[in-house]
Symmetry: C2
Subunit: 218 residues, 2 copies
């Protein structure tokens, strides 16, 4: 399940953070940076930074380091930010609206082209100039409009049904906010945002010390 990437996910998940830090450096007019200096800021080892970047090319120069702007742009390309993406959000509840209103994504090239819900009270309302449509029109809409990324913000009971429609209509990337795992073919990528799991991880860590104290006490 899930096509294996050529680059390990451990590396891939660090890329956006490089991009973010380089963007900051750029805004602060820093022209060049060494892996050592970046290491101190970003919190990865210098060795790891060099290895990570070297998966994609020889971006640095001995004795000099990396040119911040050039590297920022390279990583942007690696992340696919030189392209534009059409997205639809299904589920216009709290999360759906929050995602719709994240104008930052627009700036990165992710264009929201449709919002859908099944709640008659929401249908017809506009979010960022996009009218919320009836989810019954989703399939029709996807047939007439090219969409790259489908965003699922419906309750978990309806998530698989929406995913099936996405898959049927040829969408290859799903951003899933529903607290459930989706079944999709191997060539479809699913990226989950499971808020509950994140909160429970925090809760675990908050209690860990005590947990093992008890264990010893027994």
């Amino acid at each position: 399940m899930g096509k294996k990437t050529m680059i390990s996910m451990a590396v891939v998940r660090r890329l956006p953070k490089y991009y973010r830090y380089l963007g900051e450096l750029l805004r602060n007019d820093v022209e060049r940076i060494s892996s050592k200096e970046l290491s101190e800021r970003i919190g990865f080892t210098a060795s790891q930074i060099r290895q990570d970047l070297n998966n994609f090319g020889d971006f640095g120069q001995q004795g000099y380091g990396y040119n911040v702007r050039a590297l920022y742009e390279e990583i942007g390309k690696i992340l696919g930010l030189n392209k534009n993406y059409n997205t639809v959000i299904v589920g216009a509840g709290n999360i759906g609206q929050a995602v719709a209103n994240y104008t930052n994504f627009e700036r990165l090239g992710f264009h929201l082209v449709g919002i859908f819900d099944r709640n008659p009270k929401l249908i017809g309302i506009s979010i960022r100039d996009k009218v919320i449509q009836d989810v019954d029109n989703l399939e029709e809409f996807l047939k007439n409009n090219h969409v790259d990324i489908g965003i699922i913000c419906v309750p978990k009971e309806q998530a698989q049904k929406i995913a099936d429609i996405f898959v049927k209509c040829g969408i290859k990337a799903i951003w899933n906010f529903a607290p459930t795992d989706l079944n999709v073919p191997d060539d479809v990528i699913v990226e989950n945002v499971h808020l509950s799991e994140s909160l429970l991880t925090l809760s675990y860590r908050l209690n860990e010390a005590e947990l093992f104290k008890e264990k010893i006490g027994r």
Copy 2:
């Protein structure tokens, strides 16, 4: 930076998923389950499941497997769900409101006791019976009310300032939705939810094949 856990984060991040799947099994009246069967559903190897669980105790029985209800409750305890937590949300924009409206968290024992914002248009409005307060009152509030978890939903520019207030007032766990890394003492736990990083990871994976096709073509 960041206290090291006794159990590796790789394991910890799987715990909520066990909890979720066991909860489903329980609702479906499944009484017992083997690591093999759970493996097929959850997508981890049976070996990994046994090793993960064995970090915390001997919950299974040879020839029988695991009792679903007992294991569900054990993992609940491990995750700290036998306790209650007071939380405050700072930043009542889209994300803040979305989190505030997640009634599921309440059911898990996470009680929202305060919401704060600096926008006069939001101050005074109620979300789930909680009046949004002026963020200038945050410190005062935290001195008079016990809060376990601080939730940061403000723009990145203000995030560190809020984190500093949390730390100053003795909060030991921060759930951070701002797209920035927070500086906190070692005994304070930060769990980040970086939506942009998640989206960029998706974008990367959507483009990966093409990326390496180009590389070879050069």
